[in-house]
């Protein structure tokens, strides 16, 4: 099978997954207690008012009609209108998505930049102080709840030392990019962006960093003990070349898989970090939508999250296939 067909096959499977997400989420609204009407109408609203609101929202239609209408609208690119906010779900979701992607990518960068060198150093200095230190850091990262870490980071670096902002998004990466060719100072825009993104990125990326560190360390130890490494060393190749070109390259295959899966998880699962830092991303929207039974907004968010997850996984599979062509034929 060619890589192209492999990607196509994975993509079609992804479409099925997204359709499954749509259907399951749609079905959930009928088995979950609570109604969006209670989020729209006052508690003492009369039954007539409740019925009028239900009719306006289309909730008085039979289940199959609502489902069919939703799928048809979705195929036309229309995710409907938020029950609570009255806004188009497409614009609502896509106005939140950049914040989530930005945070997920920043957290991944924090994790990768720290984790891979730390993992490699830990493996190449096994049972030395560097290894103990890296192990301590990674164990701490794995066992620290990110909401607690987030609050501590805010207390220390925002409230006490006043270096970063406590919460919010403020300047986004788009402003930084605009500043490259614009009249605003680029450095100022960059610092402004960093002031908001740094703490949530660290809070979210710490667990991820710890995970990758452990994975890199064990992978490197595994590879360094293999025969091809000894053969390469016996041929006289420099230690650095053997470690970083051969051993690390093979170590990165499982690391990239985990990276991809975790990135998808970060896109959909940064809920707690977003809440602690008032980060206006999709996770916050999902929680608000669940609490208010705002089904169109919830479905729209989950479709985008599901699609993002699928896309990331297809990309990971593609990279994986390019690193290890045997995968395509399995």
């Amino acid at each position: 099978m060619s890589v192209g067909r492999f990607v196509l096959k994975r993509s079609l499977q992804g479409v099925g997954v997204v359709w499954g997400v749509v259907t399951v989420v749609f079905a959930l609204r009928f088995v979950t207690p609570g109604s969006p009407i209670n989020a729209v109408a006052p508690l003492d609203a009369s039954q007539e008012t409740r019925q009028a609101i239900a009719a306006e929202l289309g909730l008085d239609q039979p289940l199959y009609v609502q489902y069919a209408q939703y799928i048809l609208d979705l195929l036309a690119g229309d995710m409907g209108r938020s029950y609570i906010r009255g806004q188009e779900v497409v614009s609502l979701v896509f106005s939140r998505l950049p914040a989530t992607i930005e945070l997920a990518v920043a957290a991944s960068v924090v994790a990768i930049v720290l984790a891979i060198p730390l993992g490699v150093a830990s493996a190449t200095h096994r049972n030395e102080p560097v290894d103990y230190g890296a192990t301590l850091v990674s164990l701490g990262g794995i066992s620290t709840p990110n909401f607690w870490l987030g609050i501590m980071l805010i207390l220390v670096f925002a409230v006490e030392f006043d270096v970063f902002n406590t919460s919010g998004r403020g300047t986004d990466i788009g402003d930084v990019v605009l500043a490259i060719g614009g009249s605003e100072p680029f450095v100022g825009a960059l610092l402004s962006w960093l002031a908001y993104i740094t703490l949530p990125a660290i809070a979210l990326g710490t667990y991820f960093m710890a995970l990758i560190t452990r994975l890199t360390r064990s992978g490197m130890l595994d590879e360094l003990g293999k025969g091809y490494v000894q053969a390469a060393r016996a041929k006289g190749l420099p230690r650095t070349l053997v470690r970083y070109k051969h051993a690390l390259r093979n170590t990165l295959i499982p690391v990239i898989t985990v990276l991809g899966l975790q990135l998808g998880t970060l896109i959909g699962g940064a809920v707690i970090t977003e809440a602690v830092f008032s980060w206006p991303g999709l996770g916050t929207l999902v929680i608000e939508s669940i609490n208010q039974r705002d089904w169109p907004a919830l479905q729209g968010s989950l479709i985008v999250i599901g699609t993002g997850f699928v896309v990331v996984n297809v990309l990971v599979d593609t990279v994986y296939a390019s690193l290890d062509p045997e995968v395509v034929n399995e």
């Binding site: 906010r85 106005s95 406590t166 605009l178 002031a195 039974r293």
Partner: protein, 546 residues
């Protein structure tokens, strides 16, 4: 001090998939080494420039003059859209209420004051007439007309005008709205004794032509009101940025700009205040109060709100069908202890459904004292000794609701002849049962809070305790008769007396365990002077710089 040195007012003004959004995606990719594009530095954050002059999202909020008086408010939750007539909840009202106004308004204590109407009177046939203030304009510069006012009220009341407004519940008895020469006359089904109270809380005025020329999505993202602030930036779910409306009829507010944001985490709100990133934060929990008070950059200010917290007991189910048992529950709960220990004193003990200061409050009715022995005696007398009951409570809906319910359930459970357990429920799920059409489907024993924005006892007694009330747990003919009498009388003094009698009766019937009046607790920056309002609305236009 990176943030202090280089950051001004947040400039986030995303509304739609515009160029900035695209650049954001590009920039995100750039962060991992893929970006290679640059913009021209323009700033057209608005999604659709309008030629009607209404206020829209733009980058005007970027201005950061050194002498600018900017106020930042952090609430617990953002708005549910900017349409002033298509919502029925406090956070949205606070956000849209900066830009929109009604015919009447309220002062800090909840008293009725002039709004867009500078005179109001009752006509001979029982209708009410509002004379509009001269020279008032919408933010787009157009004058407010009686036709706009009539349209606004009709849009709330009549479904065929455009939307099904949740506010129709309050103004639903309006039958006709007639614009006249500089005035509007509103007629009701029969005589409405609280017409002015209703219009002091509801009925924000919109411009008919602006509403009719825009769709719902646009109206929920943009504003065109008459209020002291005009919206300059709207980022759904994140923040709303305003600037002072210089042509405001009451004079431009002291603040040049206003930013309303939200953080669901109370600790984050407090941290924002202590880091001097915001000036007013709402709902400071009791456990955070000392942290704010010990800081020199902020202080705590509180006010008794219009919200009462109580435990509902359904009259038609044993053991709550017994008046003695219901009274026993009131004797069993130590409300004073709950207020002191759970709420750190931020609450006032209640004795009746109507709060002190509201129309119809009976000052002669005392709260049930904490008397476990009397409670046990009444339980025995009711014939329900040994009964097991379960108290249901929402999670996180009201200030320390779970802790309050836990304390109350423990105190009831400590009686020798009653066992009480607690069931925590998500609010959306619990409220579905509480609002069930038939009383048989409602919870038997639950904690609930009720805000009375009209400051009139009938607005609590009727929906919650009359036989036909939407949320009632009681059926009592005497109480029904008193409420009907209060609804029909045109003599205000007589009406107050009737409501006071109804409150005394409600106290004796004990359909609730009367808990407390909730306080609104705010953290306020030391750099500003501001006093909170009793109706939970936040009015930064009254804030001044110290």
């Amino acid at each position: 001090m990176i943030s202090r040195l280089v950051f001004g007012v947040p400039t986030d003004t995303r509304k739609d998939i515009d160029r900035r959004t695209v650049l954001t995606y590009v920039g995100t990719a750039g962060a991992v080494g893929l970006a290679g594009c640059a913009g021209d530095g323009g700033s057209d954050g608005g999604d659709d420039a309008s030629d009607d002059g209404s206020t829209e999202t733009d980058d005007a909020a970027d201005a950061d003059a050194s002498d600018e008086f900017a106020i930042d408010v952090t609430m617990g939750q953002m708005d549910s859209g900017l349409d002033p007539q298509d919502h029925a909840e406090t956070n949205t009202e606070i956000i849209v209420g900066q830009a929109y106004e009604g015919l009447l308004d309220r002062d800090k204590a909840g008293g009725i004051i002039a709004g867009l109407a500078d005179e109001w009177e009752r006509t001979e046939d029982g209708s009410v007439r509002f004379s509009l203030r001269d020279g008032v304009t919408f933010h787009n510069g157009d004058a407010v007309t009686p036709e706009d006012v009539a349209f606004s009220i009709r849009r709330i009341v009549f479904d065929d005008v455009g939307i099904v407004s949740p506010q129709s519940n309050d103004l639903g008895s309006v039958t006709e709205v007639t614009p006249g020469d500089g005035a509007v006359t509103v007629s009701f089904e029969g005589y409405n004794p609280i017409a002015f109270q209703l219009f002091a809380t509801n009925g924000e005025i919109v411009q008919q032509s602006w509403i009719e020329s825009n769709d719902g999505d646009y109206i929920n993202r943009n504003t065109n009101g008459t209020g002291p602030f005009r919206v300059t930036g709207y980022d759904s779910g994140n923040e709303v940025v305003y600037e002072a409306f210089d042509d405001y009829w009451g004079g431009a507010p002291a603040a040049d700009t206003l930013t309303m944001g939200a953080s669901s985490e109370s600790s984050t709100r407090v941290n924002r205040l202590l880091a001097e990133e915001t000036d007013i934060v709402t709902n400071v929990p009791p456990n955070e109060v000392s942290r704010v008070e010990s800081a020199d950059v902020a202080s705590i200010t509180s006010v008794a709100s219009a919200r009462i917290i109580f435990l509902q007991m359904r009259y038609d189910v044993e053991p709550f069908s017994s008046q003695q048992f219901r009274q026993a529950m009131n004797y069993a709960v130590d409300v004073e202890s709950i207020v002191e220990n759970v709420l750190n004193g931020f609450g006032a003990i209640t004795s009746q459904p109507t709060l002190e200061g509201h129309v119809g409050h009976n000052p002669d009715v005392d709260p049930y004292p904490y008397d476990p022995a009397e409670a046990e005696r009444l339980v025995e007398a009711s014939g329900h000794a040994g009964v097991e009951i379960t108290l249901q409570t929402p999670i996180g809906r009201y200030l320390r609701d779970v802790e309050i319910a836990q304390a109350a359930a423990d105190q009831i459970d400590s009686l020798s002849n009653v066992s009480c357990s607690l069931e925590q429920r998500e609010f959306s799920s619990l409220v579905q049962d509480i609002t069930a059409p038939n009383i048989e489907d409602r919870p038997v024993f639950n904690l609930l809070g009720w805000g009375n924005g009209e400051f009139d006892g009938s607005q609590t007694l009727t929906p919650l305790l009359s036989s036909d009330g939407a949320l009632t747990v009681l059926k009592n003919e005497d109480l029904d008769a008193l409420l009907a009498e209060a609804e029909q009388t045109s003599n205000p003094d007589e009406r107050v007396e009737t409501l006071q009698t109804a409150n005394e009766l409600a106290h004796d019937l004990a359909p609730w365990v009367f808990l407390h009046q909730q306080f609104s607790v705010y953290g306020v920056s030391s750099e500003i002077e501001w006093e909170p309002r009793a109706d939970e609305f936040i009015d930064p236009d009254t804030a001044t710089r110290r």
